[in-house]
Point group: C2
Chain length 649, copies 2
C-alpha cells in the first residue's frame, strides 16, 4: 500500500453514503428523512455524507416538473438541507434552476444536479459558475426520459461553445483537516461508454481523491451485478475510489412500478468493495459499519417445477424481494389494507394469493372462487385447498345465474332501427359467452367483493398472457395491479415454489396446482381434466415471446423463421424439445408464429393500453419501459421471402 | 421585384410538396404511396419534390425502432424511393443508420434524417460525410420523445468536437438547368428559438435558394396559425422561401391518438403564403395548383350553448375535422365498422352518438338505453328522441334484475376464514351500488351488445370527468376509445351544437339535452328533474381544471388560492360569475379546491392508467402528452401558509 492509498483509505473512513428512502413528489417529507440521516451520520463521525440523486423531489414524478410551486419547494428544501452542513460536507441530488434561462420546452431551465455544501454554504462550482453540479448524461431509453425534464452539461457545453470537460472537474472541500478533491457525478454519468464520455477517467486525471456517484437507479434483474463489475473496473483502472449511493423505495410512471433497491456500495481504489449496503434498508453506509455483501447470492436462479413450463427461468430471489417491497409500499401509500383475489385453481391466481397473503396477512385477504358449469372438480378443490392452506377468507360466488340473465337479455334481442323499418336480431356466440363469463367474474363479482370487503382486487395475468392479450378486457384483464405481468409462466411457477419453500416453508400452494394443465376453463373444450387448456404452449411460447419482447437483441418473425429454416431454433431459444414435437410441419409452425405475432402487435397492444400497472423486474417490462403504438402488425420483406421458400420445400 | 426574387420565383414553379398519407409501421405500403406521388408530381412538371419527415416508417411507432428487421426495411424502402429520382430531385424523410456507431442506448445508431437524391443517386452530404442529412433538434416534450430513438447533429458535433454549424449547410442540386442551393431541415429544426439554434438563418447566410422543412407535425389547436406566423417571419427575415411539407394521417402512442393534418405550405421570400395545401388531403402542392387558404377560418371558436357550461370555449372547426379524420382511420385500420353507444339522455353520450353516426352511418350505430329506477322520464325520453333523430338502431336493456342479483349474491354474504373460526359479513353501501350500476352497464351490457352487434362500444367521458376520475373503472370509464376526453364540458356542448348546425344541419341532438342539468342518475339524489346532478360545477370547474392541467403556465392550488385571496380569481379564470356565488366562504372554497385536487392527482391518475385511448386536440391531452405517476397529491408550503391566513381572517 503506497502513500496515496493510505491517504485515500484514511479519507474513506470519514465518508458516509446515505441510502435514503425517497417518496416521489414529497419534498417536505423527504427533507425530514434527509435531515434525520444527516444527524445520524454526524453522530457516527461521518464528515462527508452523500445522498442519492433527486432525493428531495423523487425521480419518477412525470410532468410534475412543470409545476413551478413544486419545483420551488424542492429548491427551498435543498437550501434547508444545506443548513445542516455545519462541520460537515454534504452532497445531495436535487433539481437546480438556471435563472433567466429556458429549457428546450420553453419553460424555466431545470437541471438534474448535485448540490455540494459545507459549513452551511453552497460550494460554488468553478467549472460552470453555478452553485450546483449539473448532470452530464441524461438517459432516454427504457423507462428513462430525462431529456424531457432537464437540461444537461453537454447541451450547456454546446451552448457556450466550449469543450464538455472544461465544464466539469474536481471540487475542493476540507475533510478532517485535509484538502480533498471530490469528483461528483450523477447516475448515468458513471455509465458513459455508449456516450463516448468518460467522467471517472476525467476526474481521476484531475487527481480526484474520491468520485461520488449519486443515483436513483431502479431495480432490474442483474443490474446490481453489472454495476459492481463496471464500477469496480472504473475504480481500479483509474485508481480512484467510487462511492455509489442509491435511494430505496417504490416509484412509478403510472403504467409501471419500479423498485429502488439501494445496494449502495463503496469501491476502493483497487476496485474492491470496501462496503456494501443491504438492499431495501435505509442506512448510513460507512467502511466501518457494514460488511461486504455476498456477491453471488443475487445470481442464483429459482427453478421452475412444472411439466407445463420451459426449464429456463430467469427469476432470482432479488425479484421476489422487489415484488414484495414495491407492493407493500403501494398498498401502504394508497391506504389499502385488504385484497380480494379470484382463485381458479390455476397457478397464476394461486401465486398471487400466496404473495398477497405474505404481504397483507391472511386476515386481510379474501379469496373468491367463481365457478361456472365449466369448472372442473379438480380445480375447484385446488382453489379451496389453497385458501385453507393460506388461512384466508374464502367465498364461493357462482356465475351461472348472471350468465343466464345476460343471455336472456341480449341473445335474441331485437334492435329496432329508426331509419326505415329495419331491425336486427342480436346473438351471442359461444366465444362471446366466454368473455361474458370473464367480465362477470371481475367487473361484477370481484369489484363488488372488493367494495364490500373494503379493498381492491388483483389482476393475475402472467407475462405470456400480457404479451398476446390472452385475457378479457374488464374481465380477468382488470385489477388494481398486475404483480405477475413481468414474469413468464415458468417464472410464475418458480415464484410459487419459492414462496412454498423459502417464504412459507410449507406447501401453501398445493402441488396439484403445479401439475395441472393451465386452462381458463371457459368452455367444455378447456377442461384440464380431459387434457383441454390454454392455447398458449408455455414451454415453447414463453421462450418465443421472450425473444420477441425481452431479449436485448429483438428477434421478430424474420429472425425466428430464419433460425427455424436453419434448424437452430431449439438452440437459439433454448427449447426443451424439438420444435417438431409441437409443430410437425412448417405450415403449422408458421401459422402459429403469425397468429401470436398478430396478437402481440395487435389486440395485445390495445389491451395493454387499458391494463393495470405492473411491477417491473426484467429488462423490458410492459408500459413505460416498452413503448408501443396501436398499429397493424408488420412482417418484414425477408420474412415473406423465407416463408415462401419454406412452404415450397 | 429584384433579380434574386425573380430567380427564386422561377425556381418555386418547379417545386412540389408531397402531402402524403403515412401509415405508421408500414414501410412497404408507404413506399407505394410515395412512388405514386412521385409519378404524379413528375406528370405535373415538378422537378424538386419534397416528402414529409419519416414518411416511410411513420413517426409515432413506439419502440418498433428497436426491431432491426423493421429498420432494415425502412432503409431498403428509402433506396427503392431513390430509384424514382430520375430527371428529378427527391428529398424525403427516412431513418438512416451510421454504420459501426452505437446510439446512447447501446443499439445501432439511428438518425431521423432527410434523404436527398437526384438521378437515382443519393447526394453525398459534404458537411457530415454521410449519405443523409441528420435532424439537428430532437423534441422531447409533450408527446415527443425523439432522443429516445435517434442520434442527432448536436450530439454528433459534440462527439466530433466541432461547431454545430460546420456540420450543416446548403446542398447543391440542379433544377431546370440551374444550380440550386437547398437548405434541408426537419420539423423541430425550424423552431430553434428555445434551443438557441438558428438553422434557417444559417442556411440563408450560406445563400440557400430555398429551405425545405420536412415535418411530421401532429395537430394541436392553434398550431397551424402559429407556424404560419413563425415560418412567414423566418422567410421574410432571411429573404428565403421555405417549403413546409407535413404528412396526413392518424398516429398514436397507445394512450393518445394524434391527427396529422398536413397543411403543407410554401412561403415565398417575402414571407407570404405562396401556396397552401388543404388539411387532410393527399396532394402535390405547387405554386400553380393550389390557392392560399383562408387564414382566419381555423381561428373561429365554436360557441357553447348551455346554461351549465362556462361561456369560454376553445373548440374550433379544425378540432372537429381532426376528431372525425382520426376516428375514421382508427376504425378503418382496426376493421371496425359498427359502434355501440350507451345513451343516458345527457350531453356527452348524445354528442358521442351524433359523432359516430356522422362517421359510420346510422345503420352501423346501436344506441342502448340502460335504465334503472333512478333514471328520470325526461332523460329516458331524450335518449329515445336522440336515437330517432339520428336514425340509429336502438335497444333498451334495463339493469334492475342484475342489480338485484348482485345485491342478493354479495350483500350479506358470509366470508368464512380458514384461520380460526372467524367469519365476516360482507355488505354493499349505497355508494358501492352506484358503481355496481355503472359496471353493469358497461362490462355486462354494452360489452355483450358490442359482441352481438359485431362492433365496439365507446367511452363518453369528457375532460373534466377524466381530470378528476369522475367515472367508474370497468363502468362508464371503459370503451374502445374516449373521443371526447380532451374536450371540457363546455366544449362538448359546443361540439354538440356544431354537429347540429354545421354537420347534420338539423337538430339531431334535442335541445332538451343542452338544457338539462348534467347528472349520472345513479341515485335519487341525482335526479335532474328535481335539481340533482353531478358534483362537478362545470361553469367553474372546467375553468379550474383547465388552469391546473391545460394552461401553458400551470396554476395549482397555490396559485389558485393566491388569486382567490387577492380577489382576482374571476379575472384569472375568466369566470362568468363571482366565485362567492358557488362558495360563499373561504372554508367552502378551500374544501372544494382540495377535494378535486386530491382526486385529480390521486384516483384520477389511477383511473387514467387504465383509461381507453383519447384523441388529442388541445395542448396537453391526457396520456403520453401529459405524463403522470401514481403519487400522493402535493400541496406546496406556500399553499398552507395562504390557507391558514385565509381561514383565520
Amino acid at each position: 500500500m503506497n502513500e496515496q492509498e493510505l491517504l485515500t483509505n484514511e479519507l474513506l473512513q470519514f465518508v458516509g453514503l446515505a441510502q435514503m428512502e425517497v417518496i416521489p413528489g414529497q419534498p417536505v417529507q423527504n427533507l425530514q428523512t434527509a435531515l434525520a440521516l444527516v444527524a445520524k451520520a454526524r453522530d457516527a463521525g461521518v464528515q462527508l455524507l452523500a445522498l442519492p440523486e433527486l432525493c428531495l423531489s423523487g425521480y419518477m414524478i412525470g410532468d410534475l416538473w412543470e409545476e413551478q410551486s413544486f419545483v420551488n419547494d424542492c429548491v427551498q428544501a435543498g437550501h434547508d438541507l444545506v443548513q445542516a452542513s455545519q462541520d460537515m460536507v454534504l452532497v445531495f441530488g436535487n433539481v437546480a434552476l438556471e435563472p433567466g434561462a429556458v429549457g428546450e420546452d420553453g419553460r424555466p431551465r431545470r437541471y438534474n444536479a448535485a448540490w455540494l455544501a459545507q459549513n452551511r454554504t453552497l460550494v460554488r462550482n468553478p467549472w460552470t459558475g453555478f452553485d450546483f453540479i449539473p448532470k452530464t448524461l441524461l438517459p432516454n431509453y427504457r423507462e428513462f426520459e430525462e431529456s424531457r425534464h432537464f437540461y444537461d452539461l453537454r447541451r450547456l457545453a454546446l451552448e457556450r461553445g466550449v469543450n464538455l470537460y472544461d465544464l466539469c472537474g474536481e471540487h475542493s472541500v476540507s475533510i478532517a483537516g485535509h484538502a480533498v478533491k471530490l469528483g461528483v457525478i450523477l447516475c448515468e454519468d458513471g455509465w458513459g461508454e455508449d456516450y463516448g464520455v468518460h467522467l471517472v477517467k476525467h476526474m481521476a486525471s484531475r487527481n480526484a481523491d474520491l468520485v461520488l456517484n449519486l443515483s436513483a437507479s431502479p431495480y432490474t434483474r442483474g443490474k446490481d451485478d453489472k454495476r459492481n463489475r463496471v464500477f469496480s473496473k472504473l475504480a481500479s483502472d483509474y485508481r480512484t475510489p467510487i462511492g455509489y449511493v442509491n435511494c430505496i423505495g417504490s416509484q412509478n410512471n403510472g403504467k409501471t412500478f419500479f423498485g429502488f433497491d439501494g445496494c449502495s456500495t463503496l469501491y476502493n481504489a483497487r476496485g474492491e468493495i470496501a462496503a456494501g449496503a443491504k438492499p431495501w434498508c435505509e442506512q448510513i453506509l460507512t467502511t466501518s459499519t457494514t460488511l461486504k455483501p455476498s456477491a453471488n447470492q443475487a445470481a442464483e436462479r429459482v427453478d421452475t417445477i412444472s411439466p407445463w413450463a420451459s426449464a429456463k427461468t430467469e427469476l432470482v430471489p432479488a425479484d421476489v424481494h422487489t415484488l414484495v417491497e414495491v407492493i407493500t409500499r403501494y398498498l401502504a401509500r394508497a391506504r389499502i389494507s385488504r385484497v380480494v383475489i379470484g382463485v381458479s385453481g390455476g397457478v397464476d391466481s394461486a401465486v398471487s394469493a400466496a404473495l398477497f397473503t405474505h404481504i397483507c396477512g391472511p386476515q386481510n385477504v379474501l379469496l373468491a372462487s367463481m365457478p361456472s358449469a365449466f369448472n372442473s372438480a379438480t380445480t375447484k378443490n385446488l382453489a379451496h385447498d389453497l385458501a385453507q392452506n393460506l388461512g384466508c377468507f374464502f367465498v364461493e360466488v357462482p356465475i351461472g345465474e348472471s350468465m343466464d340473465l345476460t343471455k336472456r337479455q341480449i341473445d335474441g334481442l331485437e334492435a329496432q332501427s329508426f331509419a326505415g323499418n329495419a331491425s336486427i336480431t342480436l346473438s351471442l356466440s359461444a366465444f362471446h359467452l366466454e368473455n361474458v363469463q370473464a367480465r362477470d367474474r371481475s367487473s361484477r363479482i370481484l369489484s363488488a367483493l372488493a367494495s364490500a370487503f373494503g379493498g381492491v382486487f388483483t389482476c393475475n395475468a402472467n407475462k405470456a398472457e400480457a404479451t398476446v392479450g390472452y385475457s378479457t378486457l374488464y374481465g380477468d384483464h382488470g385489477g388494481f395491479l398486475a404483480p405477475l405481468a413481468d414474469l413468464w409462466k415458468n417464472e410464475v411457477y418458480a415464484l410459487g415454489s419459492y414462496l412454498n419453500r423459502d417464504v412459507f416453508k410449507r406447501e401453501v400452494i398445493p402441488v396439484g396446482i403445479f401439475s395441472i394443465k393451465p386452462s381458463a376453463e371457459l368452455s367444455t373444450a378447456q377442461n384440464p381434466e380431459q387434457g383441454g387448456g390454454d392455447p398458449i404452449l408455455y414451454a415453447y411460447h414463453d421462450r418465443l415471446f421472450h425473444a420477441w419482447q425481452q431479449a436485448w437483441r429483438r428477434s421478430g418473425p424474420e429472425e425466428i423463421l430464419t433460425w427455424y429454416s436453419q434448424g437452430i431454433l431449439e438452440a437459439k431459444l433454448d427449447l426443451p424439445r424439438p420444435i417438431s414435437d409441437w409443430f410437425p410441419t412448417a405450415h403449422e409452425f408458421i401459422a402459429d408464429l403469425e397468429r401470436w405475432w398478430n396478437l402481440f402487435k395487435g389486440m395485445g397492444v390495445v389491451k395493454r393500453v387499458q391494463a393495470p400497472p405492473i411491477v417491473a423486474l426484467s429488462r423490458r417490462a410492459f408500459g413505460y419501459d416498452y413503448r408501443e403504438s396501436i398499429m397493424a402488425p408488420y412482417f418484414s420483406r425477408n420474412y415473406f421471402r423465407i416463408k415462401a421458400e419454406l412452404l415450397s420445400r
